[in-house]
């Protein structure tokens, strides 16, 4: 048996996070997928963890305060370019 051979829910759950993160090699990934096809409890857990991960990925953008946008525009305006005076 390899370290990643799946013989039950405990083995599948041990690999579930890496599976959802797409970090498993093909052999382990296929074993986890086969388990999820036949185990409703682990399947439900996988769906839950995936949904939570998707929700977290949506936190990657925030409304920007006008003061920050102005600060950056001002900064970029002052960047020196060829043919102009350096600030």
């Amino acid at each position: 048996m390899t370290d990643n051979e799946i013989r039950g829910c405990e083995d599948a759950l041990r690999l579930l996070a890496a599976h959802i993160d797409r970090e498993l090699d093909d052999t382990s990934r296929i074993q986890v997928e086969r388990h999820l096809e036949t185990c409703r409890s682990c399947y439900s857990r996988a769906e839950f963890e995936k949904r939570l991960k998707t929700s977290l990925a949506e936190l990657d953008r925030e409304p920007v305060r006008p003061e920050l946008a102005d600060r950056l525009r001002m900064m970029i305006r002052e960047f020196a370019v060829a043919g102009t005076e350096s600030p």
């Binding site: 996070a17 890496a18 993160d21 797409r22 970090e23 409703r40 409890s41 439900s44 857990r45 769906e47 839950f48 963890e49 949904r51 939570l52 991960k53 929700s55 977290l56 990925a57 949506e58 936190l59 990657d60 953008r61 925030e62 409304p63 920007v64 305060r65 920050l68 946008a69 600060r71 950056l72 525009r73 900064m75 970029i76 305006r77 960047f79 020196a80 370019v81 060829a82 043919g83 102009t84 350096s86």
Partner: protein
Amino acid sequence: MDRSPEPRMPAELVHQKLSEADRVWFAERVDALLPELYGRAIRLCGHRADAEDLVADAVAKAWTSLPDLDDREAFRAWVFRILNNAFVSDCRRAWSKAEHEPLDTTSDDFSLFDQLHRPILLWWGSPELTFLNRLLRRDLERAIDALPDVYREVVVLVDVQGMAYREVAELLDLPIGTVRSRLARGRSRLQAALWEHGREAGLTDEPTDPERRETSRYDR
């Protein structure tokens, strides 16, 4: 992984290589990506004040490195890499001087799913997904921003930014096993915090104070 576009070009050489058209192009691209740059910076730093300085620093570094960017179609991924590298060189360095709580005392076995899942409801409903659906964005923000620095950075890089473990290990200069263990502990803490937020808001099936339940923000 391309860790950094550095070493950066001296300012006087940047001056010679970039035109006014480059500056206009750069300003437009930064403006378009600003909500994402800022969002990622807040999640990495855990609060807004440092995040604004981090974004400004990353934009300045991006400008001085722009002559090295051969494929401008790749600007988006490139500037986010600069942001992450600026985070490591600025914010993270400051943290490393501060005291951290001991890492080895943190449990990594709290599971929100275990708290919420009801097998008997299997065919009629999914309380764990209902719980997630009813959480507000601000609950997620509070939970992730409040994580201890060493856990938040790996959770943000993997779950918010979608980076691979190997990329995170290289960026943070950590063994990949440390990335895995911090990720597990960080997620456990995050889920424990979400559980508490959910309980406060009356989202669990535990008995709650009726008066509090009536005024819950979710029931308005």
